[in-house]
Amino acid sequence: MSPRRLVWLLAVALPICLLAAVLYGAVRLPALDVLAVLVGWDDGMDRLALIVRQLRLPRALLTALVGALLAICGAAMQGLFRNPLADPSLIGVTAGASVGASLVIVFGSGLAGFVGLSLVSLGAFAGGTAAVLLVYRLATGPEGTSVATMLLAGIAIGALAGSVGSLLEFYADNEMLRRISLWRMGGLDGANWSRVVIVAGVGALILAVLPRQAAALNALLLGESEARHLGIAVDRVKRRLVLLTAAGVGVSVAVAGAITFVGLVVPHIVRMLIGPDHRWLLPASAMAGAILLLVADTLARVVIAPTELPVGLLTALLGAPFFISLLRRRREYGL
């Protein structure tokens, strides 16, 4: 498929999925009335307008943003590590966030949140970014940052965080355990406008800056010294990528919990369709990530309504078969 064509397809599909996410849910809303609310003709305060404005729209936007962030950060990590199977959790974000969230659930239940973010979210964000900074510091010496050391440090920090998490679970009571395990599965049911604004702020920065690193990421795939020979300031690029990814994944995990699969497999699927050129891969991954998460979250709300499934279950359930069907043609793909 030509990259241009895929980007067009995704650009058409994304608004459709956004609209569908607003229309479908525990109750199905009539399309025309919803459109009237969305474009502002209907500024009433009836039940439908409230559902759209206060529940469905912020949730759909948050879902799209989180999906886009996870996927574009995953694409950047895979480029940085020159490994198509890398994902943001490799540098410790998810593990750190999980410990942060568990700590708050176990010890901080009485405390209040901050501008629409629950304390659990803040704990997750703090844990995630702290883990990345630690990994980055461990891998950075006088000779620059070693990507291989970063990978190993990520595994070490991940293991450490895992055992701290288990220790916390050991001391937690049943109610806490349930909250921890639900948080781990991920979910977007906490969506509200202040979360949308926070994620949109971070997201705007990342979606604007990451694509500008596309040429550097392409050169980095050749190898670090080769990229340096092509005039790329490799250490600066690495620092920028790690910090942006930590912020992007950190904030996603903070508002939506640990949603796996999107960051790992969406860039991979896009690469199989249009090749590894980051100038197309980064924007296409962002859009495809948003679409996958929107579809998964819409289904999560509909399948056993009024109860919601954890969205993390559905991302894998939807994405894996597609991924497997692509894997079967991996010969053409060149792996």
């Binding site: 340096r228 092509l230 090749g275 050129d277």
Partner: protein, 257 residues
């Protein structure tokens, strides 16, 4: 164009290149020969700034290598490494095009340069194939095309230097000759070449001068006919050889003893 002044390099506390001293004019080809571990690769990597010398200096166009901004340097100096780590399925044309990264010569000019380089390295027929599915020799020619187009045009930069670390190691006889001719064509346009070659006869045939290294020490430096002698080969490689003169080119040819 290139001046190397008493360049000394160390790695892991060991001196790997000891006071290498030579200079190269535009269009000249210097071949570095020597046994495994003699410091040939270390030397060539120091010429692009990968390693910092513990003594001595490298100057490009009169200016110390460290003073060149990274991108300016990338427009002038390119290096073909021994092996490549690329394992993402870029097409051949995409890999080659990466070599134009440092330049701002425009999409149209770049496309034409890529086409010329694909033809020069005899890989035009592979243009849309994924790099990951090529054979070793094909990959080497793709990488060669990539570094060649980094220093392709005199318009982009006046002083140009191409460093080749074993450029023909994976190539068949026909392509060895083909590639060495393309390198010579680039030299004819004023690009200075430093190559590391294990085939002494091939090096003697194509280089203007040769530098023989052993344990980081310069054993000999000069015209191929002066450097390549049976005695010198014994000294470098600890093996018996016979050196004869090529009937057509008059350059020395090394025969196993």
């Amino acid at each position: 164009m290139l001046e190397v002044e008493r360049l000394t390099l160390s790695a892991g506390g060991r001196t790997v290149v000891d006071a290498a001293d030579f200079s190269l004019a535009a269009g000249e080809h210097l071949a570095v020969i020597g046994p495994n571990g003699a410091g040939k690769s270390s030397l060539i990597h120091a010429l692009i700034g990968d390693t910092r010398p513990i003594a001595g200096q490298v100057r490009i166009a009169g200016q110390p290598l460290d003073d060149w901004p990274a991108r300016e340097r990338a427009c002038r100096v390119a290096l073909l490494p021994q092996a490549s780590a690329l394992n993402f399925p870029f097409t051949v044309a995409e890999v080659v095009r990466l070599g134009r990264g440092p330049h701002a010569s425009g999409r149209r000019a770049d496309r034409q340069i890529v086409d010329e380089a694909l033809a020069a390295c005899d890989i035009a027929h592979l243009r849309d194939r994924p790099y990951t599915r090529l054979s070793g020799g094909e990959k080497q020619r793709v990488q060669l095309a990539r570094v060649m187009i980094q220093v392709w045009r005199e318009r982009d930069a006046g002083n140009r230097l191409l460093l080749l670390d074993e450029p023909v190691a994976a190539l068949d006889l026909g392509h060895q000759r083909w590639v060495m001719r393309q390198v010579a064509a680039l030299a004819a346009q004023g690009v200075a070449i430093v190559s590391v070659l294990h085939d002494i006869s091939l090096a003697a045939r194509h280089a203007d001068r040769m530098l023989a290294l052993r344990d980081g020490i310069t054993i000999a430096h000069g015209k191929p006919t002066d450097v390549v002698t049976a005695e010198r080969m014994q000294q470098l490689f600890d093996t018996q050889t016979r050196v004869i003169t090529h009937p057509d080119s008059g350059t020395p040819v090394v025969l196993h003893g």
